[in-house]
Symmetry: C2
């Protein structure tokens, strides 16, 4: 019998990749949890046209019993929601426990970092969800991933990759040699399909990645493939830390401003990846994660080099296209 999977956030940036990965796998019976107000959106209609069952639920206004009734009969619930909607999962966890869900995948899907005040905007609320899972003894898998290729390349002098560029510029941190877990975001879906069929990952933290790359290595690949010379800005560790504190303070002052929130998240990521160097395989193991490269040695992840080929051919996807226009670099 096919494993029945319900995805919360299937039309989002990560949820969409997960849906694609599960559909490509072909062995799942897939449904998507959709808010009543999203029923008429093109993204929801597109789900239906792809054969995904739409389950309508309003996590904010429905009570746990009602949500549990909707969840009953599913084996697995996967949550992939916006950073601002993390706490909506509390009720979803309560309902999943009540419905006897066999595996709950909370919204992880971020780079490796420790709980407790390092990634205050990205991880702190996710930890609240983990605690609720453990409170209920609910079977789970926490999945985190390397940084996406899609947000990790520098722009080129020609402007050729600006169509897909997002980020805060071509900044090399310190000597540019901090190693970071990296992955093509589309592989998150392909690997999630493996993970939820695997008993070894039950009640575990799992990290997935394709490569471990430094900024210098990324730059070198981009220069070699494009034939362009990239002008880099430089930042020291202290400058990044100062920038993070400033960005956090601004975000705290105006928490509903998405631009300030994004700036603070970016600044925390920079410190985490390049100053603290949390996002690497050694630290992932230290924090109790198991490695999909070891679990699935036959899995061939998309390489950064192959992604750059797509990018230079104009075939990469612009992320968060509709949501955060301010995040996109305008072509000049």
């Amino acid at each position: 019998m096919a494993q029945k999977v319900l995805i919360h956030g299937a039309t989002g940036e990560t949820g969409g990749d997960i849906l694609d990965g599960l559909m490509a796998d072909g062995s799942f019976e897939i449904a998507a949890l959709v808010r009543p107000q999203s029923l008429q959106k093109p993204a929801t209609k597109s789900l239906k046209s792809r054969g995904v069952k739409v389950v309508v639920s309003d996590l904010v206004n429905q009570d746990v019993e009602e949500i549990a009734d909707l969840l009953a009969g599913y084996d697995t619930v996967i949550s992939a929601v916006a950073t601002t909607a993390q706490l909506d999962q509390l009720k979803l966890v309560d309902a999943a426990a009540k419905a006897g869900i066999k595996r709950f995948i909370p919204c992880g899907f971020t780079s490796v970092s420790p709980p407790g005040g390092v990634m205050t905007l990205i991880r702190t609320e996710k930890e609240k969800i983990h605690e609720r899972i453990w409170y209920h003894h609910l079977p789970y898998t926490i999945i985190d991933s390397g940084t996406w290729y899609q947000i990790s390349f520098p722009s080129l002098p020609s402007g050729k990759v600006d169509y897909a560029f997002m980020g805060d510029g071509n900044t090399i941190v310190a000597d540019g040699n901090a190693p970071n877990l990296m992955v093509d975001k589309r592989d998150i879906g392909r690997l999630t399909a493996r993970i939820i069929k695997d008993n070894r990952t039950l009640n575990k933290r799992v990290f997935l990645h394709a490569d471990v790359l430094t900024q210098n290595e990324i730059w070198a690949i981009m220069e070699r493939k494009s034939g362009e010379k990239i002008e880099a800005k430089h930042a020291t560790h202290d400058e990044l830390i100062a920038k993070m504190h400033t960005a956090r303070a601004a975000c705290t002052k105006s928490p509903s401003d998405p631009r300030l929130r994004f700036a603070a998240i970016s600044a925390e990521y920079m410190v985490c990846k390049y100053v603290r160097q949390d996002n690497n395989p050694q630290n992932a193991r230290y924090l109790g994660y198991i490695d999909t490269r070891e679990l699935y040695p036959d899995f061939e992840p998309k390489t950064f080099s192959a992604f750059v080929d797509e990018l230079l051919a104009g075939q990469a996807k612009k992320l968060y296209r509709d949501k955060f226009e301010f995040m996109q670099k305008k072509s000049t």
Copy 2:
């Protein structure tokens, strides 16, 4: 070369067992971190007479650099401190990271429960210490244990075991069949000696126990060995939960009252052990712990039965003798 171990809290109830276990092992070079104001106490003098090096440090008033200088050269730091002194460990962790300590054992040594609001008085502050450890990428082992035999036996009508009794009476919860991890507290020391020599436990959570026993099994052993019939009180799950909420509220209102604090801790333990049933091997594994029974199959833990023999022979130790007189049942 002998592993150099520094114990913080070596004169305490758990720290004393750890010191005994490490000394019995014989392979360690042991020192104890002692506050200046405790230097003249009999317990400190006793440390010296047993050949333990005393390192004087004032965690409250010294800065991290000074403490790090004292810690330099030790391989392992073990912390076992009172529930009210948990946050003193923050500075100790900072100093251990600065001194390059190879393994830090934070004050765990409590029964298995999830982080996040179940054991608010026992575990919540311990989690802050874990987060600080991970913040520093400091190598660590978190050790938790089964409930001590020493606090888990009912009193007898004859009054024979009152000399060592502590707790809130002979209450059987629900049907009395909730299984709980249990251990002789002296084995915590013997097993800690194994754990800190074992690379498999580095950067892991470990739980130790000897038996898994229900209240009914404990009662049966006590009745069989004593020849006495034990009168039990009974409590339902709902009664225990209500009692916990009342005790927590009283403790929150008067946080410095040790009697109210002890009552609230006890009430949380009761709910955790008998209602939620967190303290068992399945849940320990679910929460990511590894089992010393599997790591050390040759280790022969003291059995509950053997402990009861000691207890009935008048040879058990009265715990927290000097500290909490209100916790001891007066012989009648």
